[in-house]
Symmetry: C2
Subunit: 310 residues, 2 copies
């Protein structure tokens, strides 16, 4: 099933079920995605899609969430970021994770407001999952069944603020303003063979100002999403509608396939040339993110946004 | 004005206005505290308090929030915690802050469930504020007017998990399960002279298993709450109902007046005796927190809870 949320003037929008052609929809049997996640059985199958879909009316599928926990599950991303920040963090076998702002997710085509270019505006292309209620202590094996939806996220980051915040040990607040979500949230079965071992084995195509910047694949996560869910649920119940992110999608052959964020390319430049060369984003810049399956489908649709001065 | 939330079977409860005697109430003109924070002008004055108040029916005043940002604004706490964790974090003039779980706040007398004593169960007595909508970029001076309510919080912490999480630079997820809130949220004017420069100048009386453990005063915050609000709002709009915490209340004369968390006492023991001696909490232990003004009043009421096995 492919779900989206139409802007109907209400804060949480109107949940819809989207047809395979991504051009038609039916109203969902439940009004909002939050309500569906609280009672998944109420989301009965829809087979007729009579309404034409206007992409300009699409919110983030979950316009706000009670909880957003972002991982950093790609080893090659972590290694490059350590170069960028000049740090040697504790090595751990556990997933890395922080809690970020979740009271709003930008829709796929909303302009994104930042106060100052000097903060180091960067995109971060990620995949994510949305869970139903997960009881405290749920194992990774049991967590798999709590993954109701898979999403595509741009985790906006302000890199100049990020290094100092990380070095306090408290993690990020100022460096992590709200994220954006691609228009369609899909059940894992929609991904077919590309949903494997809790990983989204799709290429994440990233274009900055119309030019290809990266095409990393989601397969080589160090921990699968089910393991991230279990990590988060060790000491808390996870509220229905918890969104959990993969962290920036990154592959070890980043020199060939590029990166899903600017900071990573700057890390490569530090390694190769001794100093970063690529600037961060400027006001007016655009970024486009599209996850693509091996069979050519784009299940999540496209995020395409412009950064603007707040 | 003193506000509380009655458990009426609904998830967000029923907002009430509490009389000075803390024994009577009137239903508030707005149904929930979240709704009141979204439209503060709707919360008109109440002068008659006809209903007898049953303390056993009290939720946290805000049973769930879209955002909880916790500071660490007391220097003596930070210094002792560095001893506990064996770290030398970056020194910064900016407030320290992380985002924690906010989809539930425990009520003042709810049992608190933890999976394992071995995680190092600790209380953290704090004061906090709740804001209305704060636009991105709001200055500290302007932030003062956005502080609508002052609250008292127990920020439950799992210390054995906290050190390693801090050393990753990502901050805390597993180490920070949901917090508890004292029954009454008060407008700053209720504190009289004890609300000064964005600080709650009240003693926080902490009793562990019926024995006085600490009585630190909220005055010596390194940054006032208005500065914490402005820090949080640098790169994001703060959603109405954002809760911001002071971090563990701590005073430089901790050897005389005690501490608001166990970890701090263990830090003192490391300094004085070379190793920590006081254990963390055991299942069945209780903790009681009561903020007391110089005139003897307890505006927030009392948190008194037992920790139990999940």
């Amino acid at each position: 099933m492919r779900l989206a949320t139409l802007d109907d003037g209400s804060r949480d929008g109107r949940l819809i079920v989207v047809a395979d052609d991504a051009a038609h929809y039916a109203p969902a049997p439940v009004t909002t995605l939050q309500a569906a996640l609280e009672d998944w059985s109420a989301l009965t199958t829809v087979t007729e899609f009579p309404e034409p879909l206007d992409p300009a009316r699409l919110h983030a599928p979950l316009p706000r969430a009670w909880q957003w926990l972002d991982g950093s599950a790609f080893a090659s991303h972590g290694e490059l970021m350590d170069k960028v920040f000049g740090i040697t963090p504790l090595k751990t076998d556990k997933p890395l994770m922080y809690q970020g702002t979740s009271d709003r997710f930008y829709g796929p085509n909303e302009d994104v407001r930042f106060p100052d270019e000097a903060f180091g505006i960067d995109f971060e292309g990620e995949f994510g999952v949305i869970t139903d209620f997960v009881p405290m202590g749920t194992s990774a094996a049991d967590a798999m069944a709590h993954i109701r939806l898979v999403v595509q996220i741009n985790d906006w980051s302000l890199r100049v603020l990020a290094g100092p915040e990380m070095k306090t040990g408290f993690g990020w607040v100022q460096a992590k303003p709200p994220c954006s979500m691609a228009p369609f949230a899909v059940t894992p079965d929609e991904l077919g063979e590309a949903w494997r071992d809790g990983r989204v084995c799709a290429d994440l195509l990233v274009d900055w100002n119309g030019k290809r910047f990266g095409a990393a694949n989601g397969a080589p996560m160090g921990h699968g999403f089910h393991e991230l869910v279990a990590h988060a649920a060790l000491t808390r119940d996870l509220v229905a509608g918890t969104v959990i992110g993969s962290g920036t999608v990154s592959n070890a052959n980043y020199r060939e396939i590029g990166s899903s964020c600017i900071a990573e390319r700057r890390g490569i430049e530090i390694v190769d040339e001794g100093a970063p060369r690529t600037p961060f984003m400027a006001f007016g810049d655009t970024v486009r993110l599209e996850g693509r399956l091996p069979d050519g489908r784009s299940p999540f649709g496209v995020i395409e946004q412009k950064v603007v001065k707040a």
